[in-house]
């Protein structure tokens, strides 16, 4: 069975290459710091399962300090000139889109078709991880297609990958760090404390009040946790089940579906949803770290309001 382990080895090797290329890059004023940062990440991917829990903890701490006490650098050499890229764009025309289309095609094929393949009794792909395995396979096949079409040197994907990775910098690691922080919050029981606070302090006498508290609570708690999945069990157990569903007899399907989507409105407004809101500002080279959040908030707030109205209208209609 093809498991995530293969993807981890591949990612580890790519990060190791970034570390080596960083160390050799004379144009990067902080090349050793970058080499250490990507090198530690490579070690985590290649051998993280052998370090033990404390070993991994020390590794993360060193990673965070490496990026946190001073800035990571960026090389200035080797960037393709705009004129060269334009000439290349003219030369290859729409063929440039072909490798880019390979990625979604492979992801589709992997998650819809290969996922069902079996060798004897064992599925070929680990079913829980089929999407990520397919994405890695898509990246490899697209690179193969790009080599065949554009005849670039073998080192190009690693050099260009490193250039983009340096642009993202420490933000690349933020989603994984926040996932780990979420696990620690769960261990410490943060959710229960917040849920108790909400229900102790706010009176819920009418269905509309309970709808408002549930939806706004989902959005606010998602804002703080960075993730609607973390907020859902807490706020639903604290507000939706006892009040909306049991006391006022609301339809649990409507309440939960729209409650989760109220959480998604919160996701649009928090820097803690790093993958969606912080990483793109680095990828797009935006000056304002909150630019994406600023673009999303005027959609998120009215949508939250409409969501409350929808929940109130649909949850308390007669249902069987």
């Amino acid at each position: 069975m093809i498991k995530l382990g293969f993807v981890y080895i591949l990612a580890g090797l790519v990060f190791a290459a970034y570390a080596l290329l960083s160390a050799r890059d004379q144009t990067n004023p902080r090349r050793w710091r970058n080499a250490l940062f990507w090198g530690l990440l490579a070690a985590s991917f290649l051998a993280g399962d052998h370090f033990g829990d404390l070993g991994n903890g020390v590794l993360v701490l060193v990673l965070a300090v490496t990026a946190g006490v001073g800035k990571l650098g960026q090389g200035t050499g080797g960037v393709a000139l705009l004129a060269d890229r334009q000439a290349s764009a003219l030369r290859f025309g729409n063929r440039l889109f072909l490798p880019a289309l390979v990625i979604p095609a492979v992801v589709l094929f992997g998650t819809l078709v290969v996922k069902t393949w079996k060798l004897g009794e064992v599925p070929l792909l680990d079913p829980k991880q089929a999407t990520l395995i397919s994405l890695a396979a898509g990246a490899l096949l697209a690179a193969g297609a790009a080599f065949a079409l554009f005849r670039q040197p073998m080192i190009t994907p690693l050099q260009e990958g490193r250039r983009l990775m340096d642009l993202v910098g420490w933000a690349a690691l933020l989603p994984q760090m926040l996932a780990a922080l979420g696990a620690l919050f769960a261990l410490a029981g943060v959710g229960k404390v917040v849920g108790d606070l909400v229900t102790t302090w706010i009176p819920m006498n009418t269905p509309f009040m309970a709808v408002a508290v549930y939806c706004i609570g989902m959005a606010l708690f998602t804002l703080v946790m960075g993730n609607a999945f973390a907020a859902f069990p807490v706020i639903t157990a604290g507000v939706a089940l006892p009040f909306l569903i049991h006391r006022f007899g609301g339809d649990p399907a409507v309440i939960c579906a729209m409650g989760m989507l109220s959480g998604f409105c919160g996701t649009l407004m928090t820097p803690l949803a790093a993958n969606f809101n912080v990483v793109p500002t680095a990828l797009l080279e935006l000056k304002d770290r909150f630019a994406v959040i600023r673009a999303q908030t005027p959609t998120a707030l009215p949508l939250l309001l409409i969501n409350m109205v929808l929940m109130y209208v649909f949850a308390f209609r007669p249902h069987g």
Binding site: Q86, A139, M177, A183, L241, L283, Q296
Partner: protein, 222 residues
Amino acid sequence: MLILLGVAVVVAGFAAGFNPLLVVMASAFATGLAAGLSPVEVLSAFGKAFNENRYVSAAWLILPVIGMLERAGLQERARDLIRGLKGVTFGHLMVGYLLFRQLTSALGLTSIAGQTQTVRPLLAPMAEAAVESDGGELVDSDRQRVKAFAAATDNIGLFFGEDIFMAIGSILLMVGFLDQSGVRLEPLDLSRWAIPTAIAAFAIHGARILIFGRRLARRAGA
């Protein structure tokens, strides 16, 4: 109550602009120590969770091939393509993309587009070109907002499409949670109730795209 110190550390740390990786570590220690763990136990628990969540960072494997295509001129070709299609405005492009992202996500195809593989190399350059093909050169502040809008449109399309699909993580989480609480529901019961919000999201964000696009065109024409 003391346990909420970790939450306060995150909020204050982000607001004060400290490096977020350090803020996360500080919050982990604040939370763990408040819950009665020793520093070594906190570090071990965090290390274990970090290692188990490596799949989150494995998605960066897509960058080398994106870089290769960009070096071969992908962004420039995306711009030229939009300039060549007369009459395609910022509004058409972005509302079309929003609809595409919502519909494909609703079919479970959440990974066929995204910030790294679609927005940076394709959607953002196309959006800039669409504005510039009816007006003149974009000023820098508008260029930044156009890119941010492209990123936002991808997120909104994804979030308010994916819950219509029955086998997405959040639907399965809800089914599992409700089952433990004694409420039996099928995934389809939940996923169909994601449709009204999806329509509202399309209407609100679509309207904002059109208004923003018109304002950009007027400013570029003036």
